[in-house]
């Protein structure tokens, strides 16, 4: 039974849509607040370009909502290839462009896009296709190993830009997809245990006991220690996290009011990152605990709505896609907000729907579009 366009439109998960749109619209106000005192016009205009990107993102959203997600699975290898090409092109001089010391832009006609963001979406589709293709062998170690190997291709290319934050997203996305696809839990668990041990060592060994790791230089060790105690170097390396904590902490329960964030206005929050990676610091300072919790709550609700779509998916493919999207967004949200309030180390990674950034906004909205497609084409097709 085929759904008409209207039927599909009416079946959209409107709650998810509203959550997404309210975050996206609020982002314009947040970005304005973060940049309105900036000396550079380009920064001051960023809220405008964010406004222009929203309709483009919406177009992507509806485009991916209306098309049955299974269509993309047929073309998964091609999508993966295109994304890979983009990641390679970024490193080609003349096509890839340098910005803030990282080579992560390519220009296609009037657009400049970040292939790494597109790759995240393509990777979800590609990995879903791959895991489904494994059939009953999906549980085995070979699946786990091959996925890790597959993952290293884009991760390596992105790390070379360098963009640690974006590269880091691929790991949890892969793990969640494998987990949902049915890879034996012990492989995933053991890997995570290993990771946990590394973290524990860095805390108790390096930070508390002052142990040294062969091969790591002094400044790298200092960076680890600094994460646990930014006050070790408040003027130098601890500057960002310190200023972010001061901004958010001084916001108190209800904040200082819109456009009144001292830390941001006076430039203590670095102006280059306060509108993207550290946008949550601006929110926390101006809107306080109430505003900050709302943003976290809405982002969390969006993730749960993705999971709901996955749970009611018609097939495993839909479930995997939604979980992949969920995992990708989850990583962004947790790491971005977490670094602002010293839960995770600082990595340059945007907050979905809130941070400034056209490509990422369009990718995120398109991803939600994918989730909507799963929801629209769910099992119960009777209206």
């Amino acid at each position: 039974m085929k759904l008409t366009f209207l039927q599909k439109f009416l079946r959209i998960d409107w709650i998810l849509f509203i959550v997404m749109m309210s975050l996206a619209c609020a982002s314009v106000a947040f970005i304005y607040s973060a940049t309105y005192t900036n000396e550079v016009e380009e920064y001051r205009n960023s809220f405008r370009s964010q406004m222009y990107w929203i309709p483009i993102g919406l177009a992507g959203f509806f485009f991916f909502s209306m098309i049955d997600y299974r269509f993309w699975l047929q073309w998964a290898p091609l999508l993966g290839g295109i994304a890979l090409l983009g990641l390679i092109l970024v490193h080609v001089p003349g096509i890839g462009y340098l910005r803030f010391g990282a080579r992560n832009w390519i220009h296609i006609g009037p657009f400049s896009i970040q292939p790494a963001e597109l790759a995240k979406m393509a990777y979800i589709i590609f990995l879903t296709w791959y895991l489904l293709g494994r059939g009953i062998k999906v549980k085995e170690l070979s699946t786990f190993m091959s996925v890790i190997a597959l993952m290293l291709v884009p991760v390596g290319l992105i790390l070379k830009q360098p963009d640690l934050g974006s590269a880091a997203v691929f790991l949890p996305t892969s793990f969640v997809l494998m987990y949902v696809a049915g890879v034996r839990f012990r492989y995933l668990f053991l890997t995570m245990l290993l990771g946990g041990m590394v973290v524990a060592f860095s805390y108790f060994g390096v930070y508390k006991a002052g142990m040294k790791i062969p091969g790591l230089k002094e400044y790298q060790l200092a960076r680890i220690k600094m994460f646990y105690d930014p006050s070790l170097d408040p003027k130098g390396r601890g500057w960002q996290i310190n200023q972010s904590l001061i901004a958010i902490g001084s916001g108190g329960s209800t904040g200082k009011g819109y456009l009144k964030g001292t830390q941001n206005v006076l430039g203590y929050l670095p102006k280059k990152t306060s509108y993207n990676d550290f946008i949550f610091s601006v929110i926390g300072e101006e809107w306080g605990f109430v505003g900050g919790s709302c943003v976290i709550g809405l982002e969390g609700l969006m993730l749960l709505l993705c999971l709901r779509a996955g749970a009611s998916a018609r097939d495993q493919a839909g479930c995997l896609i939604t979980c992949g999207v969920m995992a990708m967004l989850f990583t962004h949200i947790f790491v971005n907000i977490g670094m602002s309030i010293q839960v995770v180390p600082i990595t340059g990674i945007p907050l979905p729907f809130i941070s400034y950034g056209g490509t990422f906004l369009v990718v995120c909205m398109s991803c939600i579009g994918l989730v909507q497609s799963v929801w629209i084409h769910r099992k119960n097709q009777s209206l």
Partner: protein
């Protein structure tokens, strides 16, 4: 592929993921709670610390005015280049990614010298001013030691790199102040003494506080200037304004974003002196040439000090904002000690003590005004011969002639008859050997000798009548200050009231509200407010003093049209010049006028003069003449005075301006009249109102011929 197969939807694993999401949301929100609500205060405090800078706004000192409101000490603006060391350091660390230059400094702590690692503030400062200094051609760098000390003790208060920058430099500097946060031009109020070396010993001066200054302002930092001498020091707490403050909001680069809070500084209370600037000016001019001396004018009816002058003087403006080393050395090294206030220093009085002995003798009943005492050229007391200044003596005379001719043998006998006990009892009332209570320090107490005093200085000797005889003519150990003698003369003039010399009329705030009271006619000692001498006895002494000026030793002190009473005095004294004794007489003339209704008590004291009548009386004449002319409407224009310089040239003898015969007591006219004559009129008014008689200058016997300048 297993499409369309809902058995493959792993609901369990999805639920686990949902739990993970909820847990993550929980972690983030609980952490947000900790940061914003539990530790919010601490972060707010951190924000305040890093975004605000508190600076001090200097208060202005109150003015010092004369009794008519003429400002003698005021404030003017000094443009200073300030370093905010704290801000310079923060800026440096910002520019250099948090790194600060360190240096090892030796610090003395509890007697031990330790090496301490410290921020190398000098390097930071030098780096900051390098571009500016080069373009302005500032050759000398800031004093390293001073900066380090300032940095260590009062980082929050700006360090004044340059004070009183001239306009050119100022303009260039503001043009090229390449936006270095922490270097600023500040207009600061500094002291200005409007008439230069005018009443400098009364006003005193201000200076920077010592390192371990006792005086701290309200904000717990030392004042930038404190009173060092004179009224400036005595009334420092009243003259000081309260410092204000500014809280500035700074951005991450240290630039001032805006002023957050301003508390303006206040102006201190102004002090109104009893001094009449015009009279002070007359006195200052009259005393200019004498080299070393003092003059005091008081109002006998109230005890108000109308003028007080000490020469040599100094210009207190050289202390503002900071005295140069050379200036200080020349002031301190000057053997005539220009910083000393001679009006409050003690000297042997000589014959001007005689009116006091007269009062004591009359009070005790030892003599009456009609007692006749035979006064030959020499009397023997306790076996010692005591000579009169004139070989033949004055014969059988009464008190009036004793005073008029300043007869020593008369007073030896009168004093011995009175006895040291009665003399010292009256001396206690007048306040000899005690502080006068004037609002000025340091003040010498002087010496009033007696048995008790002798026991203290040489316990083996016993007091004899010979000592009393010496005291009776103001010789021996007797030491008085000019102001003490003025108290006595005031008491004689006003019928016996010993008033405390009053220098301050009132202290008022900016609105004119009185902040401290200084009553007139306050007795020096409330227990003995008067001399306790009968009216008729005081009249007898007054009559004697009138005779002194009318046809006695003080004839040169006469003023045309005004009856003047007074007493001369010449105390023989010596001063050591490279081992040799050189005569350095202390000469005096003091008295009151007009005789029938005394309004002025005057005292002129000159060190190295020939005699009271020859040296001091003409100066007193000059002063009183001008004061009465002023009363009649003569305009006294106040001008900026250069310091009157000190010298040891000695005598300044001036002929009686009224062409009276020189007093016999003075060894005058030993040489021919000096050829040069300088007009005695010391005011800016050049009209000669001295009645045609021009004072001539007579050199001392064995001193080289000199032309002391009466005017500059």
């Amino acid at each position: 592929m297993l499409l369309d197969d809902d058995r493959n939807i792993p609901l369990g694993r999805l639920s686990f993921l949902a739990l993970m999401v909820l847990a993550a949301v929980g972690i983030l929100i609980s952490r947000l709670y900790t940061v914003q609500l539990a530790q919010g205060e601490a972060y707010t405090q951190k924000l305040r610390t890093q975004t605000t800078v508190a600076t001090r706004l200097s208060p202005a000192r109150g003015a010092i005015t004369d009794r008519n409101g003429i400002a003698l000490a005021e404030n003017r603006a000094s443009f200073d280049i300030d370093f905010y060391l704290d801000e310079l350091q923060r800026n440096y660390s910002r520019v250099h990614r948090g790194r600060l230059p360190m240096t090892r400094v030796q610090v003395k702590r509890r007697g031990e010298i330790k090496e301490v690692e410290q921020v190398d503030i000098v390097k930071i400062v030098n780096e900051a001013i390098e571009p500016i200094a080069r373009s302005l051609g500032f050759s000398n760098r800031p004093d390293e030691r001073e900066i380090r000390e300032h940095y260590r003790t009062q980082k929050e208060i700006p360090y004044q790199f340059r004070t009183d920058v001239d306009f050119n430099t100022l303009a260039q500097f503001s043009e090229r102040n390449l936006g270095v946060p922490g270097i600023d031009i500040v207009a600061r109020p500094v002291r200005r003494y409007n008439f230069g070396a005018f009443a400098s010993h009364i006003l005193g001066y201000v200076g920077k506080p010592d390192d371990n200054s006792e005086a701290k302002a309200e904000d717990d930092y030392p004042y930038e200037t404190v009173g060092r001498q004179g009224i400036e020091a005595r009334l420092d707490s009243k003259l000081q304004g309260k410092p204000g403050g500014k809280i500035l909001r700074v951005n991450y680069r240290g630039y001032v974003d805006r002023e957050e809070e301003v508390k303006p500084p206040t102006v201190g209370y102004s002090v109104k002196l009893t001094i009449d600037a015009r009279i002070q000016y007359i006195v200052e001019q009259a005393m200019r040439g004498v080299g070393r001396g003092a003059a005091v004018i008081m109002d006998p009816k109230t005890g108000d000090v109308l003028a007080m002058c000490s020469v040599p003087s100094y210009d207190p403006n050289v202390f503002i904002p900071k005295i140069s080393g050379d200036n200080w050395k020349s002031l301190i090294g000057d053997p005539t000690s220009p910083l000393t206030n001679r009006a409050l220093s003690s000297y042997p009085p000589g014959s001007i003590y005689k009116p006091f002995i007269s009062l004591a003798a009359l009070k005790s009943g030892a003599i009456t005004k009609d007692t006749v005492i035979n006064s030959p050229g020499v009397v023997y007391i306790g076996g010692h011969p005591f000579k009169d200044w004139s070989p033949g003596g004055q014969g059988a005379i009464k008190l009036l002639d004793g005073l008029r001719m300043s007869c020593n043998t008369f007073f030896y006998q009168a004093g011995v008859r009175t006895g040291i006990k009665a003399i010292d009892e009256l001396g206690d009332i007048v306040g000899f050997g005690q502080s006068t209570g004037i609002d000025l320090s340091p003040e010498s107490k002087g010496i009033m000798p007696g048995p008790d005093y002798l026991k203290k200085v040489s316990p083996r000797e016993r007091w004899t009548e010979a000592y009393t005889a010496n005291v009776s003519i103001g010789q021996g150990a007797v030491q008085v200050t000019p102001v003490q003698m003025c108290i006595l003369m005031c008491a004689i003039a006003n019928g016996g009231h010993t008033y405390r010399p009053r220098l301050i009329q009132e202290v008022v705030d900016l609105d004119g509200t009185q902040q401290a009271e200084y009553p007139t006619c306050a007795p020096r000692n409330p227990e003995t407010p008067t001399l306790g001498v009968k009216k008729s006895d005081i009249e007898a002494v007054k009559a004697g003093l009138l005779a002194v000026v009318a046809d006695g030793t003080g004839r040169r002190g006469q003023v045309e049209g005004v009856k003047v009473a007074g007493k001369t005095g010449t105390a023989q004294a010596w001063r050591r010049v490279s081992g040799a004794k050189v005569q350095d007489n202390k000469t005096w003339f003091y008295g009151f006028a007009p005789f029938d209704d005394p309004r002025y008590v005057f005292l002129v004291f000159v060190e190295g003069g020939t005699s009271g009548g020859g040296t001091c009386a003409p100066i007193a004449h000059d002063i009183m003449n001008n004061i009465f002319a002023m009363e009649k409407g003569k305009d006294i224009q106040l001008t900026y005075l250069t310091p009157s310089s000190g010298h040891f040239h000695g005598v300044v003898e001036v002929q009686n301006p009224l062409n009276a015969q020189p007093a016999g007591s003075t060894p005058s006219n030993t040489g021919a009249n000096a050829p040069a004559a300088v007009p005695a009129d010391t005011t800016t008014d050049n009209s000669n109102d001295n009645g045609g008689g021009e004072p001539s200058i007579v050199p001392e016997d064995d001193a080289p011929s000199i032309m002391p300048k009466r005017r500059n």
